[in-house]
């Protein structure tokens, strides 16, 4: 039946101590159908959570729970310190010049929508209106497409996008026609959640700066996996989401340059974001609070702080090296499977650890189901990036995505699983 050729490969170097790391993740000890250990390869959708994060959540609720910024009692002060402490951790993690540039949201989608709305309501020179152009790419997650379609429909601004090359990279050949003097905002993903491609930030940022356009980078698939330095990126805004980087759901981040956050108008109104309120009008708190209306996701922010501690303790450079080794191995081994076609770069160069593929004419749904039976969790479908599927003329893909706790042996299990899928439908 299936063959395990994993033994023919030498052990990879540069890997993390996954035995130790996996002990921190209770869920990875789960055993599924008929005694199969869980092989969790759906990290691009969401990551698992280490005990340290779960403990931080529990400790918050058991010891410190209160609303933030509004009480004088002990718990309120502790909760505020923990919440604002999480902001300090995020600021350090992304090398932000100031902690006040870190806005907490509920996820990356909210962060991206927040920028689109700030620009829709802004005064000149930021205002996106009927004369303006917005530039995105064909490999965006729907969360970085739909907010711009909405803005474009409401303002009359023109929406343009970079196309893709056959090997899953951005086609930059027409960059000067795409990003022009009319462009107000360029928004693109640092790492594609479907293709795994790492995009050439510098080239795009240079051109945007030349024409005076703002740049928003969707770092949802980057922040969990690599060193993220917002100053080195030279973007104006960077968005990401906590749940893909070991934190709970319900917490996201928007980083923005201070001058911009001062100039741009708030989007949601409510408690926390004001300075004074009369029945006629209000003035607003300075950023970041101006953009955080209402009671924020406090415990979730604390959880994100704990997740960042966990990641930083291991080291993002080491995590990136681990994933690179696993990706290189997986890309090579996947291509041994007959009829398997990788959708995206077929090397590990400038590539993240999400690998999409199609397997002959076996539908991804069926691939995923038979893998699930073997305890292997992958994602199937269009991965909220349907234009990419249209671009490559496929209805959907199967995607395996790796993280710091995944092992070389799990890649081998995936490959064996795929052979089994072929036999099953063969």
């Amino acid at each position: 039946m299936t063959t395990t050729s994993g033994s023919a490969f030498t052990a990879l170097t540069g890997l993390l101590d996954t035995d130790a790391i996996r002990k921190d993740f209770p869920i990875l000890q789960r055993v599924l159908h008929d005694g199969k250990p869980l092989v969790y390869l759906d990290n691009a959708a969401t990551s698992q959570k280490p005990r340290q994060v779960l403990d931080a959540l529990n400790a918050y609720y058991e010891q410190h729970n209160a609303n933030v910024h509004r009480g004088v009692h002990v718990l309120a002060e502790e909760a505020t310190a923990l919440y604002e402490g999480a902001r300090d951790k995020v600021a350090a993690f992304i090398n932000a010049p100031s902690r006040d540039e870190v806005i907490f949201t509920k996820n990356a989608s909210e962060s991206l929508n927040l920028v689109a709305n700030m620009l829709g309501w802004a005064d000149e020179p930021y205002r996106v209106d009927a004369d303006a152009e917005i530039v995105i790419t064909e490999m965006e997650h729907h969360s970085n497409i739909v907010p711009w379609q909405l803005l474009s429909q409401r303002t009359g601004a023109k929406l343009k996008w970079f196309g893709l090359t056959d090997d899953g990279r951005l086609d930059l050949s027409n960059i000067n026609e795409l990003i022009t003097e009319k462009t107000k905002i360029v928004s693109f993903t640092l790492v594609s959640n479907l293709l795994g491609t790492v995009n050439p930030v510098e080239t795009i940022v240079r051109r945007a700066q030349d024409v005076g356009a703002l740049v928003l980078i969707d770092a949802s698939q980057a922040a969990p996996h690599m060193v993220l330095d917002v100053q080195a990126l030279e973007a104006d805004f960077v968005a990401f989401t906590g749940h893909k980087m070991l934190a709970p759901t319900g917490i996201g981040v928007l980083w923005g340059r201070q001058e911009l956050l001062e100039d741009l108008p708030p989007f949601l109104g409510g408690g926390e974001m004001i300075e004074t309120v009369t029945m006629g009008s209000s003035t607003y708190a300075p950023a970041p609070h101006k953009f955080e209306a209402g009671t924020p996701p406090i415990a979730q922010a604390v959880g994100l702080g704990a997740a960042i501690d966990y990641l930083a303790n291991i080291g993002m450079d080491k995590i990136a090296a681990h994933e690179h080794a696993i990706t290189e191995y997986a890309v090579a081994r996947l291509q041994e499977v007959p009829d398997l076609r990788i959708i995206g770069p077929r090397t590990a160069v400038d590539r993240g650890a999400a690998i999409s593929f199609v397997l002959g004419d076996i539908h991804p749904h069926d691939v995923g189901q038979v893998l699930d039976e073997q305890g292997i969790a992958v994602r199937v479908g269009h991965h909220c990036a349907r234009p990419v599927c249209l671009r490559y003329g496929i209805p959907a893909t199967t995607r395996a995505s790796f993280y710091l706790y995944n092992t070389q042996a799990e890649v081998d299990q995936l490959i064996d699983g795929l052979h089994h899928v072929r036999n099953f439908f063969g």
Partner: protein, 150 residues
């Protein structure tokens, strides 16, 4: 193995050799998608009085959705709309049974093979895609044609 309860041989046969696939003339056409997985079907219904003369379709999707469209074609073409609707309702009930239903084999014939699929919530929509499209297309076709009393 549990998988075999979903991927019954009958289902795999229909998947490999689908009945009635391809688009032909019809009185009404609908396009349905399953937004979670991207499965799509374009389906046409042709009525001949009260009889379902043809169900033709072009579809893209997993083995379950493809096989289910094939079974729909095999079961419903040639019956009256009323009979077809009774079968559709019985199939819907079976798919919503969460693995508890067995299905009336007299009525559902090959479609009882989908009983195992009803245990997998993520796949129930795949099995129902073509049937819901048929229901919709038939309603459209009926609305667009003079009432036949027979």
């Amino acid at each position: 193995m549990k998988l075999d309860s979903m991927y019954q041989e009958i289902i795999l046969d229909h998947y490999r050799n689908p009945h009635g696939k391809g688009l032909r003339d019809g009185d009404a056409e609908v396009h349905h998608v399953n937004p979670t997985c991207g499965d799509e079907i374009t389906l046409r219904v042709r009525l001949d009085g009260a009889v379902v003369a043809d169900i033709s379709y072009e579809s893209q999707g997993c083995s379950i959705s493809q096989a289910s469209a094939s079974v729909l074609n095999e079961l419903v073409v040639g019956r009256t709309v009323g009979d077809g609707q009774a079968i559709q309702e019985a199939f819907l009930e079976l798919m919503q049974s969460k693995g508890q239903g067995e299905g009336d084999e007299e009525l559902l014939e090959d479609a009882v093979a989908f009983a195992g699929v009803s245990k997998y919530p993520a796949r129930v929509k795949c099995a129902l895609l073509s049937w819901m499209a048929w229901k919709d297309a038939t309603a459209k076709a009926l609305a667009g044609q003079p009432v036949v009393n027979d």
